[in-house]
Amino acid sequence: MEPIGLGYLSAGIGAGLIVIGAGFGIGKLAAAAMEATGRQPEAAGQVRTSMIISAALIEGATFFGLAICILLAVK
């Protein structure tokens, strides 16, 4: 197993794990948002705004990992 091959492999596995993490986190977030909207439909606007902000922050963490994967893949 050459280091370069291991580097590409780790980048690929890392990208998959990143997507799992992001999907899981944002999925839980969306579920909580739907439930909150169902309980109190008049708060839907507030809930939607907070949901989008939280999604953007979670995606920010996702992109850190993605940047490291890209660094691995091109080294």
Partner: protein, 309 residues
């Protein structure tokens, strides 16, 4: 038919050379009908280059030799991303001044004054006042400037022959540096230097200070670093996905893939539009949040609660 090395080189150029520039003639040396497919021309739209491209041809940007100050070499030569930085600043300045004049004349804002007022009221009521309290109004011009600047820079990348300056890590690092300075300045101005340094210790016993203070100082730097990386990666992500989708057509070298690829590309571009606006808002909101954290202290805590209902 599919050369993995070409794809790896593409990503390598995209990830590592966002700060480098490629000379203008190389951007047009792609062999579109040749034997080996060149991603170079497709990639040139994502990278920084020393020339602007127009439908007719390209315009070389002025280059200056680097100025040596001590051991640093400062390069003022203009590149595509620098040009779009200046263009965005010009657009924001021109439109904002024009809108301000229009709003001064009409008591009820209409037209572009109304548009700016909508954004300004939104930032003031949803971002500045809840996060920073009534003392945050004096930082409102800074937040609004950042918001419009980043917004226009992000949006300029979506028009044909445009480039996203914020896809360059140097640009986002500069913006994060400005945010960092403003966060510390807001904290120092509200609390005074001694209280600000006292917060760095975190209120623990003095024997743990040697551990606490480096950790707190590191924590000071991670937040703007996160701002920088978030904006950079979000702006680049859309472009990389578009590169992959459009490159798919050119890689398979058949027209059959084209409708699928174009439809997905349109979808990705709409997502990119949304992400451009959202990331500008997130940058400004997080900056104001961190400023608000710095501005809170024991004797100002009761003032922060009086935000809008």
């Amino acid at each position: 038919m599919i050369e993995p090395q070409a794809i790896v080189d593409t990503l390598k150029h995209a990830a590592l050379s966002s700060g480098d520039t490629i000379p203008a003639p190389a951007a047009h040396s792609a062999a579109e009908h040749g034997e080996k497919f060149e991603f170079g021309h497709l990639l040139a739209h994502m990278q920084n280059s020393k020339a602007l491209e127009f439908p007719g041809g390209h315009v070389e940007l002025p280059q200056f030799p680097p100025i040596h100050v001590g051991s640093l070499a400062i390069d003022f030569s203009m590149s595509k991303h620098v040009f779009f930085l200046l263009l965005s600043a010009l657009i924001v300045a021109v439109f904002a001044i024009y809108a301000a004049n229009r709003n001064r004349k009409n008591l009820i804002p209409k037209g572009i004054g109304n548009l700016f007022e909508m954004f300004i009221v939104f930032i003031r009521d949803e971002v500045a006042l809840p996060n920073m309290g009534p003392g945050g109004l004096k930082y409102l011009p800074f937040l609004l400037t950042m918001f419009f600047f980043i917004l226009i820079m992000n949006l300029l990348g979506l028009i044909p022959y445009g480039a996203t300056s914020t896809a360059n890590i140097s640009v986002t690092a500069g913006l994060a540096l400005v945010s960092f300075i403003m966060i510390q300045a807001a904290a120092i101005r509200e609390q005074g230097v001694t209280h600000y340094l006292a917060h760095l210790t975190g209120g623990v016993h003095w024997s743990i200070w040697p551990i606490m203070i480096p950790v707190e100082i590191l924590g000071l730097f991670t937040k703007p670093f996160a701002l920088c990386m978030r904006l950079f990666a979000n702006m680049n992500g859309g472009h990389i996905v578009l590169l992959a989708l459009i490159g798919l057509v050119l890689l398979f070298r058949s027209v059959i893939v084209a409708p699928l690829s174009v439809v997905f590309s349109v979808g990705v571009m709409m997502l990119e539009l949304f992400v451009a606006i959202l990331q500008a808002y997130i940058f400004v909101m997080l900056t104001s949040l961190f400023m608000g954290f710095g501005m809170q202290s024991e004797h100002t805590e009761e003032h922060v609660e009086h935000s809008h209902s």
